[in-house]
């Protein structure tokens, strides 16, 4: 196209209008994508901004008296002027500590101890309920270097607590792991077996069609309705203990099942027919072909799908509300039939707490959950990239 023609075209009014439209369209498409990206960035910025301060916790340097009197009445372990600013939740554990560690008896130790949530919030410049007198006391201690913000290890080693300064995510995290194990043990075998049946064995009859439509429907059913199922079937009919990791895991397994079935079928379908036919040609039976050839080749895809399904289950809350996992459960579970709570449930209960110090802890728990989910998802992506075979 010569320059002249091009110039002619540019003078063409209609053409210019069309080009303008084109620019506008492309612009709005870019705008839409960047808007979505902006949401993502704002969302993460917001959560991190709210949550990072929970990673540190106020501590106070005090003299702790270990003796008979403080064993009897733990308040006496510290000086009276500190009683309003040192966490009572820590103080009350002293008698048992003394019993377990007799060597500390009759000593006075200068120790860093946990401060109350209000002191913590005051040091972080957030709203608190300290009285002016206590604020002056804290200011003075700060000048003397007797108050500090240090890493909040309680958050990772404690369970839930009614005292914000002691509240942690350990029991919820362990509960989540238990629930996920149950989900995996139930959903993975059943899901993979169903997929193998539908993809490799099923005759094209009514039953197969019903199953296929059904799986699609299951994937679309709102998660809260699975909670109603768990309540009616597992708890009321099978008598599985309420609030246990087992009932949570079973309910989530049924929810994850369609995800695993659908991804496994896709992975099996991606294995080319030539491989199956080669196996048949050597006299292998159908099952031998599946077990020795198709399934190993489809394994990376199956794993990827299962991890994504599990990540989904890990973040799910609504059905667990119904089956009693929203309880106050500070102890770490040690078995599948023991009561447990999970991370999203913990986030939900903390979000509803009226004490304001829980807000940053909620955000911090969210950060932990999100980083777990993101690493699971990246693992899935990595697996897919690493083992993907192109036929």
């Amino acid at each position: 196209m010569s320059k002249q023609v091009l110039a002619n075209m540019k003078t063409n009014k209609r053409l210019r209008k069309r080009y303008r439209k084109e620019k506008l369209f492309k612009g709005s498409a870019i705008f839409a994508l960047s808007l979505a990206a902006a949401f993502l960035v704002f969302f993460f910025y917001n959560i991190i901004n709210q949550g990072y301060s929970a990673l540190v916790q106020a501590q106070i340097l005090v003299d702790v008296q270990y003796n008979e009197a403080s064993h009897k009445s733990y308040r006496k372990a510290i000086d009276k002027s500190y009683r309003k600013i040192v966490s009572r939740g820590w103080l009350r554990t002293l008698p048992i500590y003394m019993e377990d560690h007799p060597e500390v008896m009759n000593t006075v130790r200068n120790e860093w101890v946990v401060a109350t949530a209000d002191v913590d919030q005051y040091l972080k410049g957030k709203s608190n309920r300290l009285k002016d007198k206590q604020k002056r006391q804290i200011d003075k201690l700060q000048e003397e270097g007797k108050v500090k913000l240090s890493f909040n290890s309680n958050f990772f080693t404690n369970g839930d607590s009614k005292m914000a300064e002691l509240a942690g995510i350990k029991s919820a995290l362990v509960g989540s792991i238990y629930v996920l194990i149950v989900t995996l043990l139930v959903a993975l075998p059943i899901g993979v077996m169903t997929a193998i049946y539908l993809e490799e064995f099923a005759p094209d009859n009514r039953l197969t069609q019903v199953i296929e439509v059904n799986i699609n429907n299951l994937a679309a059913i709102p998660s809260i309705l699975f909670g109603l199922l768990g309540l009616a079937i597992f708890i009321n009919f099978f008598g599985v203990p309420r609030s246990s990791a087992l009932v949570g895991g079973l309910t989530l397994a049924l929810m994850t099942l369609p995800v695993i079935i659908i991804t496994t079928r896709a992975a099996l379908r991606a294995v080319p027919h030539t491989i199956r036919e080669a196996a048949y040609g050597l006299g292998a039976s159908k099952w031998q072909t599946v077990w020795h050839h198709t399934l190993p080749l489809a394994l990376p895809g199956i794993l990827t799908g299962s991890i994504i399904g599990l990540a989904q289950a890990m973040g799910e809350t609504a059905p667990l509300l119904i089956i009693g996992m929203m309880a106050y459960i500070p102890d770490t579970p040690t078995g599948f039939t023991e009561v447990a709570t999970v991370l999203p449930a913990q986030i939900f209960t903390w979000a509803g707490e009226s004490i304001r110090a829980y807000e940053e802890r909620t955000a911090a728990a969210i950060l932990v959950l999100l980083s777990l989910l993101l690493s699971m998802n990246s693992l899935a992506v990595w697996l897919r990239k690493r083992f993907e075979t192109r036929w």
């Binding site: 870019i30 979000a351 998802n377």
Partner: protein, 399 residues
């Protein structure tokens, strides 16, 4: 009980291992019908399956409260049955036995059983909901439930439920929030998909698509916290600035946040279907001198439309059934209004509220959760069937 089961299973694993070894050695001869491992599995199956059946039946009896088989009977009889099975299995092994066929038959049966669990789940959900919903509709007439415009369950405990369970305000809230969510998600989702599939370089697309999918992977309870703590005050402030009054539990907040959540569903699925439109269609159009946008709007999008509609339907059913965002950010007030700045309640909020509230278990309000759940189930199933139908039609166009 649990301990003895663990010991039993450990014992059977060990003995199973020995049986496997033994049988494999015995049948290492090429004139046998099947491979050695099949004979071994044949024996192991004989060992395990009869005992398992006994366990299964006694469990069923126990659960149906028909007869309680005590552990003192169950454990010895299981051991006996295991021994008998092992003996039977081992005795049958000889070169003529078609062990492969038998084993594969068992495998096939268990595959069918696994596949039917998904059906059982659906039946379970439907039955569990219908059973309780029947109790509810025993008290409240279906017609009134569907057409009533007044939801005030607090007076209904005395057996008089006339005019207190009209579900229209509850569904109005659900649809309002869904519509707001779709207003956010559909344009952004589709335009993002268009950009990713038509304009963007492969590199941009490969980063943008997974990045957007992060939004889909964020748990809904997190979105709920984000909506309640961050977005809701922002909306109220913004409404104030333009001289409007907004409730803190307004419908707009959960709508917007839900929209953000649904963007990746729509963008990813639409991206896939847009890319599935054959290259030749685009080339033909471009060769006629159209601009990119004209090709996209006139040729590509119409061709991909069924798939995009199916994606949107999926998004809608997500939004209808979404629970945590609305529980944490939407109101509890059944409110029939067009104003999204007012508080509204949704079906899922009512379900959670009724089942975790202070009311007696058999009160009409608690049972209403199942009535609402039933309607929600029907709506989402219908949407799903509709989207499957739309996708089927689309497929037949190009293949």
């Amino acid at each position: 009980m649990v301990n003895s089961i663990l010991i039993l299973s450990l014992m059977s694993v060990i003995s199973g291992f020995f049986i496997l070894q033994h049988v494999k050695k015995k049948s290492l001869n090429s004139r046998w019908h099947s491979l050695p491992a099949y004979y071994a599995w044949f024996a192991v199956l004989w060992m395990v399956v009869p005992a398992l059946c006994l366990f299964f039946f006694s469990s069923v009896l126990h659960l149906l409260h028909l007869y309680d088989v005590g552990a003192s009977f169950l454990i010895p009889s299981t051991i006996l049955l295991t021994l008998w099975g092992t003996w039977r299995g081992l005795k049958q092994i000889n070169p003529e036995l078609k062990a492969r066929e038998s084993v594969e038959k068992v495998i096939r049966v268990s595959l069918v059983l696994a596949a039917s669990i998904s059906i059982l789940t659906t039946i379970g959900i439907v039955l569990a909901i219908i059973f309780e919903a029947m109790q509810f509709f025993h008290i409240v007439s279906v017609w009134e439930f569907i057409t009533g415009t007044h939801w005030a369950p607090d007076d209904a405990t005395d057996g008089n439920t006339q005019g207190m369970f009209g579900s229209i305000p509850v569904f109005a809230g659900t649809f309002m929030i869904t519509i707001i969510a779709m207003c956010v998600a559909v344009p952004i989702g589709i335009l993002s998909a268009v950009y990713m599939s038509e304009y963007a370089s492969e590199k941009v697309r490969n980063t943008a698509k997974p990045a957007l999918e992060i939004l889909a992977g964020v748990p809904t309870v997190v979105y709920g916290f984000f909506a309640a703590i961050t977005v809701s005050p922002l909306v109220v402030k913004f409404a104030d600035a333009v001289g409007l009054h907004a409730d803190y539990t307004n419908a707009l907040t959960p709508g917007i946040v839900m929209g953000i959540m649904i963007i990746p569903f729509i963008s990813s699925l639409s991206d896939d279907v847009i890319r599935a439109v054959p290259r030749s269609l685009r080339d033909a159009s471009l060769a006629l001198g159209t601009t990119m946008s004209e090709t996209i709007v006139r040729i590509v999008l119409p061709a991909a439309l069924p798939g995009i509609i199916a994606a949107c339907l999926l998004g809608i059913s997500r939004a209808l059934g979404e629970t945590m965002i609305v529980v944490m950010a939407a109101g509890l007030r059944p409110n029939l209004t067009w104003n999204p700045l007012e508080g509204m309640t949704t079906v899922t909020v009512r379900i959670v509220d009724a089942l975790t509230g202070d009311q007696a278990f058999d009160s009409p309000e608690t049972l209403s959760a199942f009535g609402l759940g039933l309607v929600l189930l029907i709506i989402t199933l219908m949407l799903n069937v509709l989207s499957i139908y739309v996708i089927r039609r689309f497929r037949s166009q190009y293949e």
